[in-house]
């Protein structure tokens, strides 16, 4: 095994024809997670830097192949539909873990708790008295015009008064290293299975690297999730039957749905497995119909129930919304949370925090311009080539313009789109996202990253340490979404600060 070879640098002289992979690493004036500058390594990275720097490119390649094979054999893949061979690819995994010291994590955690608390208060408010609108803190039209605002649920009380149970909040760091919130994903955030699988894979390929660090575990996520789902059972029912509702095997996140169901020990169901009778939801089983109490649904509102939302949805369960209204089934997340992760509403989250909690946001937003505001509109139109423009309701890196990386034609197209529907667009300055060393073509190079922690809101708020670090693997790219050529890394939160 190469692990033992690399361990003993003192016994005999090992010929090293290739330069150590960190030699010639450049930070290009970005905030680098590992390096203060090209000569100095941040103290909490120094042991990792030493260990990884000791490996030859061949040894690193070998580890990478081990990691890739492990993902492939486990079937953690997506299918490339462009050819007929059924080719399957893995989501790229980078070997170099990202490290977050305890103090930094405490700051992030406090910020996320504050944010989800405010978002849940906001959702309760706009589906009841709408005080925040009455008081003019948020202009009413932004809610009324929101594509994901579910008028039908005005006055409806959700179990335990929790709307967003599972939230994936995307964070980035700017050129000073400050953590900023880029967006909230309050409907069906995906990716948490990669957090767990990345950890397991890194443990397999670099078992010794963990020995020198106190890395906080992440494996308890499914347990925490199950506790939360049981907590929201209708009428506080003890030992409720929980199920994960998936759009099916062809959904790109199916692996995750199945993974979570397996880890929690609950059924994974498709719409066609469920049937609603007298406002109660049942699974079709080999022993007839069995009642279901809590559904962790990975299907968006729009597709959930063809009787209420999109009638063309083949994924949903006719009648499930009626059962939900009748209080016989609990859904996570609740219906109607999409209004809170609308990219326009994002602009108002700092105000929500102030309004409901009387606090300043611990994690600030990225400066944002609303195309529907007169002054902002002018600024956006004048500065399109410099800005990042996002559609309010899109996810997965779609409907997005990165000004500095776009052609004139793309910019012109967005100019037209914004003109036609200002409510649907926001703009942000192009951030100099922080970078992290990644193992690319036999050497380490800096790539832009973000961080998606997973926030669970049940009896209390719990956040597994770290989250998913996504990497824009294309040189210079700022888009980290897996659908757009992104990869991911294991993310370590340390017990201490070094």
């Amino acid at each position: 095994m190469p692990a033992s070879k690399s361990k003993s640098p003192k016994t005999g002289r090992t010929p090293t024809p290739e330069p150590p992979p960190f030699e010639g690493y450049v930070t290009d004036a970005f905030f680098d997670e590992m390096f203060v500058d090209e000569k100095r390594v941040r103290p909490f990275y120094s042991r990792l830097h030493k260990r990884m720097g000791r490996l030859t490119p061949d040894q690193l390649q070998e580890r990478r192949q081990m990691a890739d094979a492990s993902f492939l054999n486990q079937g953690i893949t997506f299918t490339v539909y462009s050819d007929n061979q059924g080719t399957e690819r893995i989501f790229p995994f980078d070997l170099v873990p990202r490290i977050i010291p305890a103090k930094e994590w405490a700051h992030i955690e406090a910020g996320l708790v504050q944010r989800i608390t405010a978002l849940n208060l906001f959702l309760h408010d706009i589906y009841h008295n709408q005080n925040i609108l009455r008081d003019g803190v948020i202009p009413r039209r932004f809610v009324d015009e929101g594509k994901h605002f579910r008028r039908e649920f005005m006055g409806f009380n959700v179990p335990r008064n929790i709307y967003i149970h599972i939230c994936g909040t995307d964070l980035v760091r700017d050129d000073s290293g400050e953590y900023l919130v880029l967006e909230d994903n309050a409907r069906c955030p995906s990716g948490v299975s990669y957090v767990l699988e990345n950890r397991q894979t890194l443990k397999r390929v670099f078992p010794h690297i963990f020995e020198e660090y106190g890395v906080r575990p992440v494996e308890h996520y499914p347990e925490e999730l199950l506790n939360l789902l049981k907590y929201i059972a209708p009428h506080g029912k003890p030992n409720p039957t929980v199920a994960v509702l998936t759009p099916g095997i062809h959904n790109s996140a199916y692996f995750e749905h199945s993974f979570l169901a397996r880890q929690m020990g609950v059924e994974i169901v498709e719409g066609r497995d469920l049937v609603v009778e007298d406002d109660h939801v049942f699974m079709r089983t080999t022993r007839g119909l069995q009642a279901v109490d809590v559904v962790y649904r990975r299907i968006d509102d729009d597709f959930l129930d063809p009787l209420v939302f999109r009638p063309d949805s083949m994924l949903g369960v006719p009648g499930i919304v009626g059962a939900y209204r009748a209080g016989n089934i609990s859904l996570a997340n609740s219906i109607g949370t999409g209004i809170a992760d609308d990219k326009v509403m994002y602009y108002f989250v700092p105000r929500m925090i102030k309004y409901y909690l009387d606090q300043d946001p611990i994690l600030p937003n990225v400066p944002t311009y609303l195309a529907s505001e007169k002054e902002d509109y002018k600024y956006i139109m004048d500065n399109l080539p410099k800005l990042v423009v996002k559609a309010a309701n899109e996810a997965g890196g779609y409907g997005m313009l990165v000004g500095p990386h776009s052609t004139k034609a793309e910019i012109a197209r967005f100019r037209k789109l914004i003109q036609d529907d200002p409510r649907n667009y926001i703009a942000q300055p192009t951030l100099a996202l922080s970078r992290h060393p990644c193992f690319i073509n036999d050497t380490f190079e800096g790539r832009h990253i973000d961080l998606r922690p997973y926030v669970l809101y049940g009896e209390k708020v719990s956040i597994i340490p770290g989250g998913l670090t996504r990497v824009a693997l294309k040189k210079g790219s700022l888009v980290v979404n897996s659908s757009q050529g992104g990869g991911s890394k294991d993310t370590w939160v340390l017990e201490g600060d070094e």
Partner: protein
């Protein structure tokens, strides 16, 4: 208690894994068979392998795809052609897709074994392996599938889900054995050759079912058609015989429902119980009285009915209607 859809997937996973192994045996043995024949016969047979396709009931889908019926096209059709479920790749792919939908029910080792086997089978290296010498290739395919069966046996909870895998496996195996015995579909037409030459065909059937040495031990005699049929249909101790498979299937059904042998609580149990009794209380002469072809034909119908009855009882009970829908009609973007 388990989801009907899950039971369905486990059942079909069991069937397809078994089918892949049986196809591998069949193609392998028939390729070997040619080596044992005098050259004039070998040449003739190599040009027409349609009987093998017909035995599997895949005449139509073969004719849609191929013009020539020689050993190479038929082998290609039965090994690598992924466009239908009666090839090794097609079966294994279907088994894997079913396994993927029930990953929370099966163990990690089971999934990884089926996944690895599939990924290997569609790789370039598997193809090169086959072209270098098909014997080693088939050995590898069989080993991979047997390993899966072994892992299933030794690590999976022997509960309801396991029983559905067993149902699929034993029904498929019984069906395949009965097809192999159907003399209409022999590569060597026994009428066209001397009795000595015809023996090759019966030997090939024994090899397909791994029964060559078992036969020798039990009968210690020349290979005789009646004895081969007796071994493969009525020997209750031989794991590839129809009686053995139906006994196991019947046991699984009874463990699922808790109904004692000799009685029934649903149509699947009624049909499997009847077939089991028929096999238990018949000699090979009774069974083959209408002729081997007619007898095997009838048996395949009976097996098909049992399969339908299992679906009716556990997967699509008519008491609540099932709307089978395509999995994805409209997609949703991922957050």
């Amino acid at each position: 208690m388990m989801l009907s859809r899950v039971a369905d997937s486990l059942y079909w996973m069991g069937r397809y894994v078994e089918r892949a192994e049986n196809i591998a045996r069949t193609v392998n043995v028939n390729q070997q068979l040619i080596l044992d024949l005098p050259s004039h016969q070998a040449n003739r047979i190599a040009k027409d392998w349609f009987a093998v396709v017909a035995a599997l009931g895949e005449e139509e889908s073969f004719l849609e795809r191929y013009k020539k019926r020689d050993m190479d096209t038929v082998s290609e059709f039965l090994i690598f052609d992924r466009s239908h479920p009666s090839s090794i790749v097609g079966s294994l792919s279907a088994a894997r897709e079913n396994a993927r939908t029930v990953r929370e029910q099966i163990t990690t080792e089971m999934w990884e074994q089926i996944n690895r086997s599939y990924l290997w089978l569609i790789s370039k290296s598997a193809r090169q392996f086959y072209e270098k010498g098909s014997y080693e290739f088939f050995q590898r395919v069989k080993k991979a599938l047997q390993l899966f069966q072994g892992i299933t046996e030794s690590v999976m909870l022997h509960g309801e889900g396991w029983e559905f895998i067993q149902l699929g496996k034993h029904l498929e195996r019984a069906d395949m054995t009965s097809r192999l015995l159907d003399e209409e579909y022999f590569l060597i037409r026994t009428a066209d050759c001397t009795p000595a030459e015809a023996l090759n065909q019966w030997l090939a059937i024994l090899r397909c079912t791994n029964a060559r040495l078992v036969y020798q031990r039990l009968y210690a005699s020349m290979v005789e058609p009646t004895k081969v049929a007796e071994l493969l249909l009525l020997n209750g101790l031989f794991p590839r015989s129809v009686e053995f498979c139906i006994y196991q299937l019947d046991q699984s059904l009874r463990r699922l429902s808790g109904v004692m042998p000799g009685r029934f609580s649903n149509r699947a149990e009624k049909l499997s119980g009847r077939l089991l009794s028929e096999l238990s209380f018949s000699t090979i002469e009774d069974l083959c009285e209408p002729g081997l072809h007619a007898a095997m034909d009838k048996m395949q119908v009976q097996l098909g009915d049992i399969g339908e009855a299992i679906m009716e009882t556990y997967i699509h009970p008519t008491s609540h209607q099932v709307t089978a829908s395509p999995l994805v009609a409209v997609g949703q973007p991922q957050q």
